[in-house]
Structure formats: C-alpha cells, structure tokens
Symmetry: D2
Subunit: 498 residues, 4 copies
C-alpha cells in the first residue's frame, strides 16, 4: 500500500476504538462534528500525497522503488531536517497555522526511539533497535497516522512516579509481564490527535530513578486495543460551522485526549523500553530536541496569521501611519522572523547521534527557539489587541450582520478606512478575537514543553566551564581550569611596551 488515500485513512479509523466526548461514546470518529474538525487537519497528509506537485517534497522511494512518506526516513543531515520543517510548514500554512497532518507528533517519537534504542543496546546489551526498525518498516508499508503519548497525568507534581498517593497509576507503568509481552496501566494527558491515529507511541515524559523502574516503559499500541479509553477534551464552545464569527476556533480541535490504559497488553516486539530506567531521561530528552523544532516550524505559520491580523486591523482602522502602531508592528515582525530564524538555525546547526548516525536538531537552539516564542507570546497578544481595539469583544454576531434589518447599520457604522468593506473589517476583528483565546495561549506555553522545561534545558546544556574560563581570563583568576576555546588563545595584551 505504502501511501494511503484520504478515504483509506478515514476508513482505517472505524475500528471500534473507545472514545468519549462531552459525555457520549463516539460511534464513528470521522463523523463526529468535533472529531471531524480534527480529522480535517489529519487528512491533509494523505490529501497532499495524492498531488504530484508535492511528490518530490513529501515522498521517498525505497530500494524496490516503492514510494513511502519521507517523514518515516531517519534524518541524516541538516537538509533532511530542513525538508521536514518545510513539510510541517506546508501543512500548517494550509491548515490555518495549526500543527496538522496525521504524523506530526508521532514522527518525533519515532526518531527519538531510533536514536536512543541504538545507544541503549550498545550500552546495556539489549536489543531494542531492531524492534524499532521493524516498526519503522511497518510504517513505511502501512502509512499510518502516528500519535505520541508522552505526558502522564502526574498527580502530585512534587512526588516521583513511585511515590504517588493514593494510587500508583498517575504515571503509566508495567503491572505485569509474561514472555509474550507486558501489561500496562495508567493514564496520559493531552495526547494530540490520538483518537484519530493508527499507531500510538507511548514514551516516558521524564527521567526516572531506580525505584521508578516500573514506570520506565516505552511501546507502541493501536487505538482499538482492549483496555484503552480515550476521553476527548471539551471543545471550544463555538457554533458548528460558524466560520464567520469563529474563523480560527471553528476549525481548531486538537482532540488532545486523556488516554487511559487499563491493563493493556503489549506484545514484546512492540516494547522499546522495559525497566531500563537510566534511559527514560534520554528518550524524553531526544524527543524534545525534535519536537521543539517541529513546534517552532508550525508556529511560524501561526505567527504569519497573527502579524497579518494586526497589520490588517492597523490598515482597516486607518492607523497604518501612526508611529506607535508601526512600532508595534515592527516588534511583531521581529518576533515572527526571529522565531523562523531560530527554528531554521536549530536544523542548520544540527548534531549527529553517533551510534545511530541520525541528525537531530541542535538541542540548545531548539530549546532557545521554543523559549523565545513562548516567552514572548503574551507580549504579542497584548500588542495585537492594543492595535485591534475594544471592538474585538463587543462586535455583534454574524446573525445581526446577515439580518437585513440590521445589516445596513453595521455596514454603515462598522466601517473603518474608506474603501474597506465593513465585512472585511468585521472578519478581521473576529479573527483577532479568535487568536487571543485561551487555547492558543496554553498550547504556546505548554505544548512541546513548558517554559520551565526550557530553562532547565539551558542550565543542563550550558557549557558553564566555557563561560567561567572566559570570565576568569579577564578577571585574572588563575585556578588551573581550562577550556579549549579559551586556553589556546594568546595572552592579551600581546604587545609589550618598552
């Protein structure tokens, strides 16, 4: 098969999976009004792949000449990472700035498995890497939608997995093991696209200590597996199909489900970590390297829309020439373009994982990129709303606009700059309101790792010796410590004055 059609993909989702949403069991995830909204983004993957125009970007050929999805290929160099970035941005630009496509998160997990299992096998003598490769082959063949389940529900955040109370299932764990496989229980939260995937890779979300050993577990599972329950989140409460009032949120439903594992059996060839607690951290770390860069890629498409919305409002309100508005737009441009530059830089300055030969995004830069845009996001919102004005939340409904008894009033009074139809201005206003909603803010901060996670990464990745040696060299502190970048430098000043 190799490349699925949209229809094949949708058909594949009708498999009896247990999905709850707003208190009801979902019969068919492809026909539910909210899950369908999510499916519209997932299906783009298959849709694009049908179009010859995108073939060279999206597809690769295996030795037999069979096409398969490029994203299943392990990245070998910066070009591969930049190509992946281009694919994500194609999807996101098409899908109104959202991280769309059916494999967005899963691929980053697959790459993490590839790199870390190889290293683990080398160090511990395990043999997980061949299992990962076997799974990768399946992916190339079956072209599945792949999700990743990382974040455990966590319970009390101040306690490690094995110390939780009153129960031990706040993190997914191995509750039983046979020769054939393992049995797991627990729950993962906000698992994007999971009700619409074919394969769900389950990974640790944090480093573990030895007594958390049962929680050091990674595997892949299919949504219809017995014991799996998906509870999809409360959707934005917008009227179905009302894209005039809700141009963005009307299309946005991430289906970031709560996924509950109730004694789920996983056959051994689908298990990639089983108690090797020392490698729980590396899985999470390597996933983050890939995923923060993926996040940065789609974010750029979102920022195009945000900067554009602000620029439109400035234009429509007749404020384009006002200096403080130009200042704000300049800042927004800087914000968007710096996000793009940093995301690219993380790819351009990629590192290579030695055992596996995989290229992975520069960890410092990928974290720096994520932190940059997440930390500044609320500032961006403030400026956009400042430009847009109070009307953003006092705009009448489209039902008033399309009511002949009031339309002429709105056309007359909600105009802005001469020549701009009131309808355009109203649509732009609705877009701004939609941009500033809670969902946007929370995913910016928390999806792909919170601000604290990035700060921790900076601290961990920092070459403090380098910084310190640089400072000591100036301060005249001689304590015998060296750093290659500084210790080979000549003395300064080099000149001896007579």
């Amino acid at each position: 098969m190799a490349i699925k059609t949209p229809e094949q993909y949708l058909e594949s989702l009708r498999d009896g999976r247990v999905v709850w949403l707003q208190g009801k069991r979902v019969e068919d995830v492809t026909r539910h009004p909210h899950l369908r909204t999510c499916a519209e983004g997932c299906v783009m993957d298959y849709f694009f792949r049908q179009d010859p125009k995108y073939r060279s970007l999206l597809l690769e050929q295996d030795e037999k000449g069979e096409f398969y999805d490029f994203v299943f290929k392990p990245a070998e160099n910066a070009e591969d990472l930049l190509r992946r970035r281009e694919i994500i941005q194609l999807m996101a630009r098409t899908c109104f700035g959202m991280p769309a496509g059916a494999k967005f998160t899963g691929i980053d997990a697959l790459h993490s498995l590839t790199a870390v299992c190889r290293r683990m096998d080398e160090e511990l003598g395990t043999s997980y890497a061949p299992r990962v490769e076997a799974f990768r082959e399946i992916c190339k063949q079956n072209d599945p939608a792949v999700a990743v389940a990382m974040t455990d529900v966590k319970g009390d955040r101040s306690l490690r997995p094995s110390k939780q109370k009153p129960h031990q299932d706040y993190y997914v764990r191995i509750v039983d093991e046979t020769k054939e496989g393992i049995v797991v229980s627990g729950a993962k939260a906000h698992i994007s696209l999971s009700p619409l995937c074919n394969e769900m890779i389950v990974l640790n979300c944090r480093a573990m200590k030895e007594d958390d050993k049962d929680y050091a577990v990674a595997f892949v599972v299919q949504p219809s597996t017995k014991g799996l329950t998906f509870i999809a989140p409360q959707p934005e409460p917008v009227e179905e199909g009302n894209y005039f009032d809700y141009p963005l949120t009307g299309h946005r439903y991430g289906a970031d489900a709560l996924v509950i594992f109730d004694n789920v059996f996983v056959p051994m060839d689908r298990v990639f970590l089983k108690g090797e607690w020392q490698f729980a951290g590396p899985f999470a770390y390597m996933f983050a390297n890939f995923h923060r860069v993926s996040a940065d890629a789609y974010k750029v498409a979102e920022l195009d829309i945000m900067v554009g919305a602000a620029a439109l409002m400035a234009e429509y309100n007749g404020l384009e020439k006002v200096p403080h508005v130009q200042d704000k737009l300049s800042w927004l441009v800087w914000y968007a373009e710096t996000t793009e530059a940093l995301g690219r830089a993380a790819c351009q300055n990629c590192l290579t994982d030695l055992p596996s030969g995989m290229a992975y995004p520069n960890p410092m830069i990928s974290n720096a990129a994520k932190f940059f845009y997440a930390d500044n996001f609320h500032q961006a919102l403030k400026l956009i709303l400042d430009i847009a004005g109070g009307i953003t939340v006092t705009i009448p409904s489209s039902k008033d606009y399309f009511n002949p008894e009031t339309r002429h009033l709105l056309d007359k009074y909600l105009g802005g700059k001469e020549g701009v139809p009131a309808e355009h201005r109203i649509r732009a206003i609705n877009l701004v309101r939609d941009i500033a909603g809670t969902a946007h803010q929370v995913t910016t901060i928390h999806a792909e790792g919170s601000l604290s996670a990035q700060r921790l990464s900076f601290f961990t990745l920092a070459d403090f010796d380098r910084y310190k040696v640089a400072a000591k060299r100036v301060a005249g502190i001689e304590d015998g410590k060296e750093h290659p970048l500084y210790s080979s430098l000549p003395k300064f000043p080099a000149l001896t004055w007579d």
Copy 2:
C-alpha cells in the same frame, strides 16, 4: 420612590426599547438568556440597597430625610472617593470580579458633567450646570440605572470627526436644532449595560477642533427614545447555565452594545454641551479621571480571583513549595496589591475642582494605576497559565465528569495532591481557562482607555519643568529657568572646605 427594588428596576426595562442580539429583536431584555446574565449584575445595586446591613455604606439622606443612593452625591473629599471605591469593590467581589451594579459607568459621567459644566458656565456664560443639577435630582428621586455612551465608532482613526468619509456619522453629531431641542445622529460602540439602563448619558470621547463643532455634544437620553437602536454584542458562545465548565464566562455578559442614533430628538433641558468644542476635551478628560479609578477598583476584585486561581492550581498540583512557582505567585501578589495601592492612592491624593468644589481622583495616579494593571495583565496571564498547566485546554467536559461510565476514571486520573478531590481540581482548571479568554484581555487593555491614552496622559500631565530643573541643577546648566520645588533649595554642597 428614591430607592428602587430589584423588581421595580426590572419592570422599568420593559419599555419597548429596540434591542437586537444574534439576529433577533429582543422582546423583553430581562428574560433574554444573555441580557438576563447582564441584568444579574445590574440588579445587585437594588438588591444590596434593600439590605439594612449595607445601608450606611450605600445610602445618603437628603434634607427631607429621604434616602437616596450615595453614588449620586458629588464627591467632596478623599473619604467620599474611597467610599465610592468600597461600593464598587463590594459589587465586584460579589459579582465574580465584574464591574457590576446599574450605575457603574454612568456615575463617572455625571461627575464629569458636574465639574466641567460649572467651569464652562463660568468661562463662556452658558447655563448648563443647573440642567446637570436638575438631572441629578431626578436621579436621586428615580434611582435609575445610568449608562454612559462615550466611544464613537470612529471610522478612519487617522481622521477627525468632520473629515470622515464616505459619511459624516462616524461620531455622534447634531444634525438639527430647534428651540425645543436638538436632533442627533451617529453611533457609539461598546456601550456597557446600555440595553439595561434607564438613562444613558452621551458624552464626547475626544477633544474637538472648531470645525468639529457639530460633534461637540453631550446629553442624556432614555433607551426607549424614538430613533435609538441597540445591537448587543455576540455573547461568549458558552452553553447557557453551564457554570461548571464556564464558571466565569457563564456569568459574564456586558451587553456592550452598539448604539445607533437615527435622528434622535433630545429636549433642551437634557442637553449639556452643544457646539462648545473647547469643552469637549475637558469632558472626556474629567470622565477619564473618575473612570480609570473606578476601573482600578473592580479590577482588584478580579485580581483576587486570578491570584487565587493560580494559588489553587499550585496547591492542587502539589507545586506550592516549588521555588519558581512561589516566585510566580509572589509576582502575582505584588501585581494585585500594587493595583490596590495605586487605586487607593488616586483617591487619597485627590484634587479639587475649584468652580464646582468636587473632589476628583488624582489624574496622574489614576492613569498610573490603570496603566500599571493593563500593561502587566498579559504577564499575569502567562504566569497563571504556566502554573496551571496544559490541562487547562485539554480538560474533558463536565458531561464526561457527570457521566457514571467515565466519572470514576476522571476522579482517579485527574487528581493532584493527595486529599484534593478531583472535582475541585477540575473546577479550578475551568476557572483558569475562563480567566484567560479574549474578553478579559481586551477589556483590561481597552475599557476605561487604552494604554496609549494613558501614555498620552502621562506626557500631558507631566511636570517636565520640574524634572528638567532637577537635572540642570546637577549638570550645572544655568539657563535662568526655575521650578518652585528646586529653586528654593540651598546650594549643594553647602559646606565650604578651607
């Protein structure tokens, strides 16, 4: 009558006013699901006034011993301003942080009229002040809900009222005048509570130049007047009465209508400005002095809820002892308490308008207070969402929670710190999501004047001579300019060393 009962107030709204909402003409504003939500806040005014416990705070007695609402009394000193502040906070604390009550905005306009008309009469020989006093007496007698209509729809923001195209009605203006009164046309935007008021004071929203003379107009009008149309804003799209999922937005509807004046006749005794363009600015300025302080007062109640939501999430997630969480909570406390201190300070350091004898909030401090909380609001949201976590937008619906088939799963897996019921944590999560919505952000920035309006006030109010003389004194620049605060000081150093 003097003090209306809640029932009398509601009854008074059934007067045939023309109100549109989501494409339908509203029959009875007190029974419409959304306008009713707004009425719930307005009616608190009348509700509290029935309770003897609040009488000493809320009521005054006139010479005849008749009780009337304290807010109709012109402030004479800091105590009066602080008492008004206490009333606003009582309402806001009761009504979930909202600027509630039936007179919230109108009173600030009435005070502005009182101060400015007196000055105008003195300077121009007009006789508006007695009309204002007459209207005030009516207020004391009839106890009306009073709104204020300030912000014109404005069209192209770079053009003054008389320069707008393609029509001249982007700002409310006098289109005709007879001995009996004036006729006005135009539209005002986001007029809070207006569909639920008894009297609507209409004021200029900006200073005018001579050729904008027709736009220099202030008056009071009743909602059922012929030619008036209210188009109420698109409500937050929340399910009616679902306060579990929408604890805040479920209660929040400001009814900030677009108010259209189509050849509305206003009798002369209800007109307070008619072409005296020089005083358009002072009306707006004096209103802002009062209204920014009113805003600051209710904001404090809102911030209590916001800081509390963050503190609850920290507690429920087991993060109370984590240093960076404590740091964030500390900042939030500082933010809330500084807002309170500055609002009080604007009252405590009030000024007196000489002609009228009215006390009004210190303009520099009232603007400083508004700017402080509005400029920092997005930072506050960032911190709150950071503490609350991604679950804020992936939380399942209450319908899943109250479904026996899934409730046990949510009770088990959405728990946090031991001992906290999952329901409490879910409710807190929903509160956080509601806090961060667009409406909150926009009203914080734009209601009661945008950030730019405050910046402009600082520049205008600044005693630059004082600053410059202070600097010149140090820099040794002698250019003959003086300032009382500095010019009387002794030379420094005073000491002459031998």
Copy 3:
C-alpha cells in the same frame, strides 16, 4: 546641646576611629578627599537645622521646650511618616538625588528596635525596651549621626551563620559575655556613612534558628571603640573636583564601609538583643518596613533627575516631537510618579504596632514600592540611554572643551537644537553617563533589600486565603474554608429567574 551645628558635627568625627581607604589609614575623615565628599551629604542635616525656614518641618520640642530632631520621635500616625518622607526628599532633592543627611539609615533601625523590643519584652519578659528609650533620649540630647550596620559579610550564602566554614565569623556574633557587657566579633558589609557617624546601631540581617543563637545580637556602638576597623570602599575613579565631566559621581561617595569587629566590647545598657534568636527575624523585618519606604522617598528625587536628563536630551537633540521619544518619556514619567505614589501610599496606609503604639509603613506596599522601582530601573536606563545617543560615551573631555585650540570645534559640532549652547548639551550628556554607572544600578537593586527579598515578602505577607476563597467562590469549590471579605457576601446571582 540638642541640635548640633555643622562644625560641631565635623569636630565630633575627629576621634581616632580606624578608617582605611585605598590602602591608607585616614587621619581625619573630614578632610580626606573622598570621605569629605560623603560628609558633604551628611552635614546637610545640621546645615538645614540651622535655617529657621525649615524649623517647623525638621524640629520638635520636648517637654522642657528643648528642640530636638524630629526624626528621633517615634512615628505615631500617617502624618508623622509623611513628614519623615518629606524630610528625606528635601535632603535628597538638595543633594542631587542621594540619600543624604547624617541619620538616614540609623533612624529606621532605631524605630525597628523600638517596636520589636517592646514586643519581645512582653513575650519573653526581657527588659530591652527601657534601654532603647534611654538611647533615644541620648540621641535627642546629643543629636548624633546614626548609622546602621545590618548586612553581614555572609560567606557561603547557602549556609546558616553557625554552619559557615572555615571560620565562624561571617556573621557578627557574641564571643564572650560578662556581667558588664558582651564581646562581639565578625564583619558587616557596605555600611553606609559608617565612617562618618557618631553611633552605629548593629542589627541582625536575617532570621535565626536556635543553633544560631550567638548570632542573634543587636547593640549600638561608637566608631572609635577599640576593635572596630572600617575599610571604606574603592571610590568611583573620578578626578577630584571635576564636576563638569562627573556631575553626579563627582559628588557621590557613600562610604559604605566594610566594618570589622575584632573582640569589640559592648556595655550591657547598649545591648538590645542577646541570644533571643526568635526575635532576630522581627528586627530585620521591621527595619525593612521602614527602610524600604525611606529608600522609595529619596529615589523619587533621583528619578526627577533621571527623567529630567532624558527630557533635556530629547530637547537638546531636537527630538521632543518624535513619537517614540515621547512614548519613552511618558513611560519614564509613569515610572517616577508611580514610585512616588506607592511610597506615599505605604505611609498613608500605615499600620500600628500594638505594644509600642508606633506607626509603621504598610509592609506590603513598602515592599511593592521598592520592587516596583528596582525591577524597572534597568528598563529606565535603557530608555534614557536610547534617547541620549552614543555620544554619551564618546564625548571628549572637559579638558578639550576648555582648551581654546579645540573649544570652537566642540562648540560648533556638538551643538544640537538651534539655540541650545553646546556646553549645555555636553553637560547633559555627562549627566546621563553618570546616571547609568554601575553604582546607581547596584544600589537600586540591592540597597534596602534585593528583589528576592521583596518577592519573599510578598509571599509571606500575602493573604492567600483571601485569594483562594475568591477563586473558589467563582469556581464553585466548597471545602468549608472561609474568609471575612468574601464569606459574608450574598450569593451571586442573587436573582432567581422563574
């Protein structure tokens, strides 16, 4: 004597105290080029008190009609605190924004002793309060310059006093005790004005635990006491008396000495804490309440100069009408005026210490004020330097300006706006450079408590119950907890719809 003359004050400093500065023992602190600079600020106290014009502000009369310095009087109400504030600002405005006068820091310590010793005596049955009163009487009589020594040198900041290594003297401690008195050793850092004081109050800088008991010690000592050594800090390396190039730093030397106690004997009647470790914290806390407000008071005078310097540069560079420059000036005005408003608010909303009857600044607001200006200071510097331009650090020396061979070139080419003499512009530039120096930054952040100290105060002082109850009320969380401000409120909505 009661009120010293400037000459008497200077004479009193010639007492053999051991002061080192730049490697040399200082013979006479009143004639040393750097210490003299500091003395110029201290002496203003005595200078002003000679001037009848300031008598009503500065002096009080005791029962015998004898005048004494008002600052020695314990504050009884807001007016007293505001008067103290006015005095600090008079000094600071005179002395180029510096916290001048001979008692600036000491008074805050005396007030802290007054309040806390009374409470301690009540709780522990000690009898320190009478000793404090006796010392206060001495002050009223002798009119001494009073410094306070708070900050210990601290060694390893992660260890408590008694855990330090390799020696135990990183915090001042009691090393011996007899019936007559105690013997102390250790060192205190950056003790402002100490080489120029007559009395130095020594206080704990932090809370203590029981095993730090020996470090819980407070007393007063005179600078010439045996065993005391002062090492004054490295002065700003400016040319003596060159006030053209260094208009601010040429006058600024805080003499913030390192004070070393080498087995210093303190007679028992001068000891105010001796091992009562539970009260070490309250001393530091109450001192901070007073001192942060004192800091805020002089800061306002400094900010006048800073805003003025920016406004002058904008004027001299011809940039006054440029919108982004006006925006920056507006922000600076806001920054200065909010600092003033918050400082006043801390006094206006003061609290009363019950045992002693003393009024003390509102702790939340005094910390909020300090945090506000310290946290924003670097933003202010950025804006000022942005307006001033690169010339700030490339300006030629005054020696070039006063050299006839180059003066005409500088007069021609360093002009700005027409009509402004180049000399004025050059002087303003030098002022800006001086403002942005390291000293200014560090004292803003660290003097009177670091940003972290304020954050900790917010956390400690916060009424988290209030915030949480406010949030729970909205979220519908019922856990039986109450708060007076919220629990008495009526239910919302109060209205029952049929």
Copy 4:
C-alpha cells in the same frame, strides 16, 4: 609587503596626524597611555597573522601566490561570512570581548562600497566600482588598518542635513569640487579606532533627498591628511595599569573620536559617491547588513564573559544550587546562545547581491540579532548584578587588599564558599562592576545602529503582504490580493463531508 608586522603597523601610525585627548595634542598615538590601550586591540590583527597556526583561517593567496588578509576578499557565500565571523570571534575572545583588530569596522564599509557602487554604476552609468576595486587592491598590498566614519554629528535630529541651523556642517558635505577632487567639511562622531587607522572610509549615515545632494558623499582618506582633526573621547577614569580593580575597563578604550573635516581635499580616485543622493541610503543600508552581523559576532565573546561572571559569582557566593539563581543563569545562557544562533543564522541564510555577486548577511536576521541582544542587555545586567550582590560597589580597593595591614582582614571576611580564595572572589566582583558600566550599555544599544534603527528595518523589510494574505485566508476576506506562499495552497478544509 602584503602582511604587516605589528611593528610595521605601529610605525605606520607615526605620521603627524592631529589627535587631541584630554586637552592635549598627542605626540605619538602608539605611546599615549590611553590610545596605546586601544592599539593593543588593533595590533592583534598583525600579531595573529604572524602565527602559522592561524594562517589558514586568516590569510588568502592571490593569483601570484602572495598572501593577503582574508577579510579584504569579498564574501562569495555563507562559508565566507561564517569565516569572517570566526575571525571576529577569535579576536574578541582574545581581547576580552572587545571588537578588536585593525579592520573591524572598515571591512564592512568596503563591502558596502563594493556591492552598492556596482549597482549604482549599472543604474546611473557612473564608474565608481573600478575605483573601489583599485582601493581594494591597495588594501591587499598594504594591509592597512581601516576605519569607517559613518555617523555625522547631526545637530538637530529633527532636521535633514541641508536644513540645519545655525550652520550647514552638521553632516559632512562637499564644499568644493575641481577636476582633481573634492573638498569636504563637517564632522563625524564616535569613529572607533580612527586615531589608529591607516585608511578611513567615509560614508553617509542616512538616506538623503535631492536637496541634501551635497551631503551624499563617500570617499576614503588617510588620517594625516591636511584639515583632519581627531578629538578622542574622555577615557574611563581608571588608574592606568590597574587591572585588578578594573579588569575590563582598564583594557577598554575604543578611541571613538570626533573627526573634524575642515576643507579636506580628496583626490577623485578616492571618491565613491558624489552627489548621487539616491544611493546614500543603499550605502548605509548595506553597511548595516554587514556591520550588525559583525557586532553580533563579537558580542558573543562579550556575553561569554558576562555569563561567566554571573556563574562565578553564583559559585563563589555558594548560590549555585539556589533555584532562582539557576533560573537567572538559565536565562543568561539562553540570551548568550540565542545571540550566537541568530548571528550565525544571518550568515547561513545570506543573500546575494546580483550585480556584484557578493554574499551579504540576511538583512532581516542581522537586524533581528542586533535587536535581540541590545533590547535584552539591560535585563541581563539586572540579573548579573542581582546575583553578584551589593558588594559590587562597596568592595575595597586593591590597595587595601595588597596592604599587609588590612589584607588578612579582607582575606578572612570577603571569602565566600569554602575553598574559594577571597582574591578570586574579589577579582570576580571587580569584573562584574566593570561589566555594568555605562560604556557597555551605550555601545550595546547604539553601536551598529540603535534599537529604533532596527525597528525601522523590520518595518521596511517586512513582507506585510504575506502576513496579510495569511490572515485573510483564515478570516475569509477575499479582496483579490495574492501571495506566492499562500495563494498556491489548496483550500482548507480539503475534505468534503457528505
């Protein structure tokens, strides 16, 4: 000759140039205590080029096999730009973070001339490009120190060059012209290294309009030319050779002179712009592209020292494990590494100037990089000083430290974490104080273009059409405008639901 030795370079500066400093004419710029400090950085260029270890990085060979300095080669691709970056960083890391070397600024001007003159010749039919190439050949041969004189003294910033009063020389202009050459007058401010260069390229600092034609002038001139006067800036007032107290400022003197042109004659073959006012803007713009990236390169070396100083203070104070200190260090690491990533990205994503074939840094990213580090610099200072503590400005002089009578006291009491010699801690403290000085702040903001210049660049370079089309696509606004990145995308959602 091709590659000068350090001695040859120094000798070449003894040519009678007119340099004033602190009121005195400088006899020999290589022996003056302050200018010598600057020369120590310049000479490193020649010093490094003597060392075979650095040959492959620093030198190129021409067709005849003759070595010449790589920096004189026009960049052809990203690798060349990255190599230039590596050279700047080598110098800066060696020279304590400073933009050292003898050609730092000049090269960016030479590259700008190369690109723009080619385009100008094509468009206007002038023949400047060959002159530039001839000058480049001279550079390859003579290996001169090259400065650039950009910033005019500007007078009233609100007026264009030809509108200045009371004289017309606030911008350098052509005052006369003959067949042999032009005569120029005026003055340029803060011309780094200029008193120590061999060739000074003079360029417009801004775009011009037609009536500013006489001010549209570019040329190269040697410092000893008749009519040229250099007035070097007031040095930091530190004691000569005292590197203990002033580890950074003791080495830092940029010699950013005021350069006065009094009827200076420039032969025609050294003139590169003469009245073609349309190209004044492009010169400045292209220079900025190169120079902002050069700035970013050396800044990284400076940030190593700054982050290192903070990290050392955290270590020495025993604060390494304190969470809020780790948070601050994390932010500083992010700040430094993002600056590095953005600077590299500007090179990696370079553009090509078509007529000349030169590679030049990506303008959006080079501005983004500069803005990023300049806008955040004061935040960095705040954090560093916060970590370092108040001792930064109250530390005793090294003269006290090296005085045997006080050294033991300082060794005992200024210790921090056990095992760290007090001397190390004192040295680190002095480094921090030096880092936070005014010079550092001002050059960060203003050197290589102010924050406003970058904001303007963002606005000018922004592809607003792209942003707007992205927003319109979501908002459903159809106004016929297209953008290649968006207009080719398929409709979303692509799926048609039955």
